[in-house]
């Protein structure tokens, strides 16, 4: 295991934290002296995850001791307190000190050493259970394909409680390379200065960080020490990948696109830099000693290229299983392979591409919509937005783009979904999780709250765009303007909560008042009013519309 006998790397610089610099020999000494190694039995230890030396020492010490560690986000005390109630840890490590919570022996599996949360501190008590072999094999695999050297130096700005951040620490330590700890983020002006100050050879980021650096006009040519940049933690837009790749090549930097899940400790695949330009949306190939397959709905392996299926991963880094309670920590391996929930395909070169996450699909009017694709579409229009939603509405959230309604209008025509299914939402700040991923749940919650914000709604009435639309609608209602209404739009207007095409007017709870309105409009759209139209499904009415009135 990489974390054992770290003194084998002698006087290589292990950690730089502020002005403090310690070698592997010194680090090993600190670990040996750590009280984690003096505990009478295997314990559960919650460690406050700060990017500092004490946290690293505590983490490594407890790994060596064989305890089970949970690194918690220091900004979320209430979440941690909830987790402490559920899991009843023996010790708490924070601010350089251990606090004993109790001395009872817990029923803990002998191989489990690390618990990672599956979400970015949203409070869910669900953990991924990992063994020493899981993290060791993954660290070795990452070091292998990145060809890490002892002279490398990574900038660790990602949080340690995040699997991506932790994997950087693990993989660099596995080869005796250096890690520079910092709480500086990509949004800080001093981020670039740090790279030069410590001759950083590699930094990593999630898509949001790269977007932030783009906005700050981050110029790679200013950082001659860099030799690698790695991207993971979500799908980056193709254009962004290409741009970063081009800039990296220009500056003799290798740009790696990577993919993984916490459940795989976390790395699953990587895209070799030589393929990035030709296949910027690919996640590449499995990491060394790992295997990626695709399966269909019936769990049969897909062997043909360009056929979509669920991505399944096999390898020594696949977790033991999940934990939702203390009892689960006694369990061993219950998972043999990892069903990722991502839909993917592979090409003739064997490079995999994620088509979408199953949770990133919504279904409106019978049409399956990939929210990532929508984001990509907006991106091609130069609009930096986040799309989320459910089977009734698509939320388009942004912090200020020009004329989003026009883009929404274009998109709605393109994918044949009524414009009113889209909710345009401008935010002051995009909600981000502590792992720097977009907080979709928070966006949905904000969207829901905004609908109840009556003052904001009242204010809207005094805008120019409201009155422009109002008069246009007034003249249309009175028959002076063409309505350009379709059956789909009509029913969505009258029944905004319904996105199913199999329902009829009666089934949707239509009454005599809406009957009048809809029958008038249908008469205009189809050319006549179909007999017993109120019992026909929306789908049948759409068909009538397309066939000019004949079914």
């Amino acid at each position: 295991m990489f974390f054992l006998n770290l003194d084998r790397f002698n006087d290589n610089v292990a950690i730089i934290s502020g002005s403090e610099e310690i070698t592997y020999r010194e680090l090993a000494k600190k670990i040996n002296n750590n009280s984690a190694l003096k505990l009478p039995f295997k314990s559960l230890v919650f460690i406050k995850a700060s990017n500092d030396l004490e946290t690293i020492v505590a983490y490594l010490s407890n790994l060596v001791a064989g305890n089970i560690i949970y690194l918690y986000d220091s900004n979320n005390k209430s979440v941690v307190n909830n987790l402490i109630d559920i899991y009843n840890p023996n010790y708490l490590f924070e601010n350089g000190e251990y606090t004993t919570l109790h001395s009872d022996k817990l029923s803990l599996h002998s191989e489990t050493v690390l618990l990672l949360s599956t979400s970015g501190s949203t409070g869910t008590p669900k953990f991924v259970r990992l063994t020493g072999s899981n993290i060791d094999s993954n660290a070795a695999a990452i070091a292998d394909y990145l060809e890490l050297r002892p002279s490398d130096r990574a900038l660790l700005h990602l949080k340690l409680h995040y699997s991506f951040g932790l994997s950087i620490l693990n993989s660099y330590m596995s080869v005796g390379a250096s890690v520079v700890l910092t709480n500086t983020t990509a949004m800080d002006a001093s981020f670039g200065k740090l790279i030069n100050k410590h001759n950083i050879t590699s930094f990593s980021g999630v898509p949001f960080i790269f977007q932030t650096l783009d906005k700050a006009s981050f110029d790679l040519s200013q950082y001659p020490s860099l030799r690698q940049i790695t991207q993971a933690g979500g799908k980056m837009f193709k254009d962004d990948v290409l741009r970063w790749s081009k800039e990296s090549i220009k500056n003799e930097i290798e740009f790696f696109v990577m993919y993984g899940q916490t459940e795989a400790a976390p790395r699953i695949s990587y895209l070799p830099p030589k393929y990035v330009e030709q296949h910027p949306d690919s996640i590449g190939v499995a990491i060394p000693n790992g295997e990626i397959l695709l399966v269909d709905d019936k769990k049969n392996i897909i062997r043909e290229p360009n056929v979509e299926g669920e991505l399944v991963y096999r390898g020594p880094n696949v977790m033991q299983g999940y934990a939702s309670s203390l009892d689960d920590l006694a369990k061993g391996k219950v998972v043999s392979e990892l069903y990722t929930g991502d839909i993917a395909k592979f090409n003739e070169l064997g490079l995999f591409t994620i088509v979408g996450r199953s949770s990133r699909f919504v279904k409106l009017f019978g049409i399956r919509i990939n929210l990532d694709d929508l984001e990509e579409y907006f991106n091609t229009l130069g609009q930096d937005v986040i799309c989320t939603g459910d089977d009734t509405k698509i939320i388009v959230a942004h912090t200020g783009v020009s004329n989003p309604n026009a883009a929404i209008s274009k998109l709605s025509k393109k994918i044949n979904i009524p414009e009113t299914c889209f909710q345009n939402m401008q935010l002051k700040v995009m909600p981000i999780l502590s792992n720097n991923k977009v907080d979709y749940k928070a966006i949905k919650s904000l969207a829901h709250k905004n609908n109840k914000n009556y003052f904001r709604i009242f204010k809207f009435i005094f805008t120019k765009s409201f009155w422009k639309d109002y008069f246009k609608e007034l003249f249309t209602t009175l028959g002076f303007l063409d309505k350009s209404l379709t059956v789909k739009k009509l029913f969505f207007r009258e029944f905004p909560d319904n996105t199913s095409e199999t329902a009829s007017f009666k089934e949707l709870g239509g009454d005599s008042m809406t009957y009048v309105t809809i029958s008038m409009e249908l008469d205009e759209i189809i050319g006549f009013l179909p007999e017993r139209w109120e019992s026909l499904s929306i789908k049948d009415l759409i068909e009538l519309e397309s066939k000019g009135g004949e079914l």
Binding site: I395, E419, T420, Q423, N424, M425, Q426, L427, L446, A447, N450, N451, R456, I457, K459, F460, I461, S465, F466, D469, Y470, F471, E473, L474, T476, T477, L478, G479, R493, P496, K506, G509, G510, D511, S512, M513, Y515, V516, T517, S519, M520, D523, F528, L529, E531, E534
Partner: protein
Amino acid sequence: MKTMDVNLFIRALAIISVVFNHAYIDRYYEAYGSVEDVFFGLSLAGGANVLLLISGFNFAEFIMSKSDVSSLKISLVGFAKKIAIPSLLLTVFFFVILSKFNIYELLFIRNFIDNDRISKFPIWYPQVMLQMLLVLYLILPLVFGFIQSKPWGLSLLFLMITISSAIIGIYTFELDMLKYKVPQLYAWVFVMGWVFYYAKVSESLSKKVFAFIILALSCILIIGPYDLNFYWLCSAGYLLVFYKTIIIGKFLKKILTIVAQATFIIFLFHRFFFEVLEKLSPFSYGYLTLFFFGIFASIILWASATSFSRIYKRNLESVG
């Protein structure tokens, strides 16, 4: 020429007649209804009963056709709300601008107390409708099984009961002072709508003929042949039960389409607009001006409210 749904055609004509009649009455008459007025005046009284007939028809189609009791109740309550809320708001509006108040009128039961009203709209209609809906809310769940299995028979049974209550009401109680604006005198028209609906959907000619005959006989018994309401109801019933569509000119259809959609708003607000014209017009005017003003102002109001509501909902989610 274009075809128009007969239900909507009748609805449009009915509301036009209501507004016209009120415009005419406001200018020339205190009361209306005798056949002499057809010749010596231009009363078109009868539209309100036709609207009630259509309401009953639609009630049977959209509410009584629900597949379970709870859906029936929910739909019934929803329908009642759509009548009650705007009527209540309008009532309160008139209380405020006229600085008057009447608790019975606020509770929609004044039709049982006297024939006066503060609100400048035909409040008797929502009063009668809501009172009927309340009774139906209590009774219909009890006979839900029959609605599903024997709707035609049940509607005939209800019709007999309501006709009886109307006859008893007319010949037994002194309802003159209430101007007969009580539900027991109108329920039969509403239930007649059910009978017509079930006759129509059965596609049985004999049922349709039977329904029409029942209507004519009921009208003779309750209204009498010397009342324009009789002719209105029989004509409307005839069209409703025997026809699905009617052929009319394109321009006329366009006008009637808008009127049909705005029916409820026209019904609620035309009298208010009569008052507005009365207060604001520096010129004298006849009943036709009053009629057109009442109709068009109500249509503009309906179109404005509809447009506002649609734009509001469409743009609801823009966040500052």
